[in-house]
Symmetry: D2
Subunit: 256 residues, 4 copies
């Protein structure tokens, strides 16, 4: 799937001292079709990107600085792959306006770089309209402060939208006597259950059920390394996708 | 594990027209060490048990009649294996008083005949004190009216008791922001999640987690046939266990 | 997803006394948008299809009779949904020639009517090119005579083709010391493991692995009822798809 | 489960520079009822154990040095917890002879310190005699050179012994047509399947099946941290168990 490059792509990593950034530095260095030309941390000047001749910028910084970083990249004709959060609708609108003036530059903003997670959510949503019942179980380490996870909420929303468009009725549920919380929480009509267990990292199951059958999509993230194939895939495809793309699935071949 | 019998055991089934009873009739007929000597339904006289020469009575009737059935069996020196619910503490006390006068007769009252389910609950409880975290997920068909299932409640209680005795602290949980119900219900300090999905029958997972590891016990009941090995095991062991035994685990060799 | 019919579709079932056929009879009778107009068994005359005014014919018979059944249907302008095996390439060619003369008639030949199974295979193949490793585990009841299952072989072939097209290298495997059979069998470079266990029906897992993550697709068939949503979906879509369609996935909306 | 110590136990770690040893150093330092008094690497003199006043020695070295290390500890009245391999029957016999002269000193030699793994194997073996069918699936990273894993072989042997003692027949299997390897390898009559997948660490499932039901024991090791609770449990119990104990299960309360 790797496109052939006559010369290695020149990649810079911003936020290189953070945990994700450090992984990205290693991943770029290990990729035979890329060269790491800069690895910037907090306080380093963005001018180094230009002097290093970066063609691609990977932004894994913090919400406070990501917008300025991406703006710098686009204004200098560098493509950007962004994993930092904080991109609300007004920031996205401003970025699109900027990109309109740089029609050959691409930016990917991806809330989730785990390929398996992105694929599982997309496929589960697509399949969910063929089944009577759907529920989600997400499982994380017990130090997580929010329940359910953001990924589970997004997956439930995707599923709910797909089922609504196909006019699938709500999942059947005859419960009349419930100990409070047993049936999980409700996200757009989809029940979501959050397990917290020492030893786990980040895991999610989508369960679909029909008469006599079950279809399950399960994704396990065991460590941060799982995000790196998605980061590399982003770098390899962002130049061929000028303008703004939100979500890694925009670069994936999911049609069956 | 079958004890050798010089002649096949003479077994009668009460409630033979019910769904469980009909399965029991088939199971006894198929067992080479048993002979079915009577299959009684609603309205049939218990005197047929005596005239048929039954040694063992399997009661799979209704709460209204089970006590009289078992009393009749014990008074006639027949051992009884009982799957009917409704045995509260006063009924159990009366039965024990009766058995004291018939010291060679055995009665097994089992709320759950699924061997795998009984084993899973017992082992999970025993193991739970060696792990920081424990949660339960039970999954059933969507026509079930109560959540969580009775089996899940009993399993959680067994686990809570085992952990309390070993002075294990509560499972860690840093959740500060929760969509109502996401973290399941609380049974004696154990989180229980109830999934309802078309196509399922009755399933349960106990998840134990510690640093870097997870131990999972999963039981799947696909149909009522799953209860029959437990019924047969009950018949084969009840004579060697005079007096009252509550719970199939009383006959199982679980010591490791 | 149900297309609106002004009047219920008139459906005939062939092989109505077989196990699959009997299920289909029940499913058609239960569908509000269909009317069962004929249920034929071995020896019944096909002329009854015409006299009953059937618009749709469901063939769940035997390899010896399926070709004549479908030919009769097509020649009488009836759409056919076929679950019977035995359609080799020469039979398929003859059927396509016949359909060329009846351009408004549709025939669906589906080796597998379990929606979940078809979806899982299609999605797993599509996703497999994004992961270093792929293996398949199929699990069935112990009375099955062949290993691996036909579905597992087809899934492996789909995966192998998708990975070959994307030039993905073989799954890594450092095994140098193997107890014969431990690593399963090899189907087009994909390892397949066959479990046989009392209590199971038909189950399959596709496991995809990359650095730090795993993506799993699992399908469980608990009983024959699982095929009926696929049969009904076939009936509801065959008229809108004139000509020959092989495989239920031809009617599914799988593009993401 | 922690026994109360009036003063923290004085613990030394041998092999402290190895991967397991480094984890053990951290685990002992973090345990409130222990004090790390020495951490020795290759070439360090064992005399430091005595001068540091060690009461407990954790040996995580190499087969070449473990015997001398343990002998030194026992001769100096220190209890030893040993995770190093290489203890064949002649070494064990020599150690028992030595311990006979030091009747108050305890030694634990444990081939596996993962509590969950030890528990899963023990429980699965115990439960296996109540089911018609049993198979094992072990799943590891693709850099592993042997298949099946040593743990899977030992689990299969435990299961085979338990079933033989209870005169349980072989698992049923009607396979007559097999693609070579599909049905896994055979360890004492138990089928074992080995999956190798990038992203995995060490995982094992024991599947038990009977009519209409399945019981599954699954253990996941996500990283080496999973061995540390077992090491600490060993240190906490070795003094109360003088003489030689082989296997962590000797210290576990598994009776149900």
């Amino acid at each position: 799937m790797t496109e052939q490059h006559p010369a290695p792509s020149r990649v810079a990593v911003l936020g290189a001292n953070g945990r994700m950034g450090a992984e990205a530095v290693k991943a770029v260095e290990a990729a035979s079709d890329m060269t790491l030309v800069a690895a910037l941390g907090r306080g380093d000047s963005l001018d180094q990107l230009a002097s290093a001749g970066a063609e691609f910028v990977v932004d894994l910084t913090v919400p406070e600085s990501t917008e300025a970083n991406v703006r710098f990249a686009v204004e200098h004709g560098m493509h950007a792959v962004v994993g930092t959060t904080g991109w609300d609708s007004s920031r996205l609108a401003a970025l699109e306006a900027l990109l309109a003036k740089h029609p050959e530059t691409g930016v990917l903003i991806a809330p989730n770089f785990a390929l398996g997670s992105v694929l599982a959510s997309a496929f589960a949503a697509k399949a969910s309209k063929y089944f009577e019942s759907v529920e989600i179980i997400e499982l994380h380490h017990p130090d997580k402060v929010d329940a359910p996870s953001g990924t589970a909420v997004r997956t439930a929303q995707l599923i709910a939208a797909e089922r609504a468009a196909a006019q699938v009725p709500a999942s059947p549920d005859a419960t009349t006597s419930e100990l409070a919380g047993a049936r999980g929480c409700d996200v757009d009509g989809v029940r979501v259950h959050s397990v917290r267990l020492r030893g786990l990292v980040a895991h999610q199951e989508v369960l679909l059920g029909g008469p006599g059958e079950q279809l399950t999509f399960r994704h396990d993230s065991f460590d941060r390394a799982s995000f790196m194939p998605g980061v590399l895939l982003g770098i390899r495809n962002v130049a061929a996708n000028p303008g703004l793309t939100v979500g890694l699935d925009g670069y994936l071949d999911l049609g069956v």
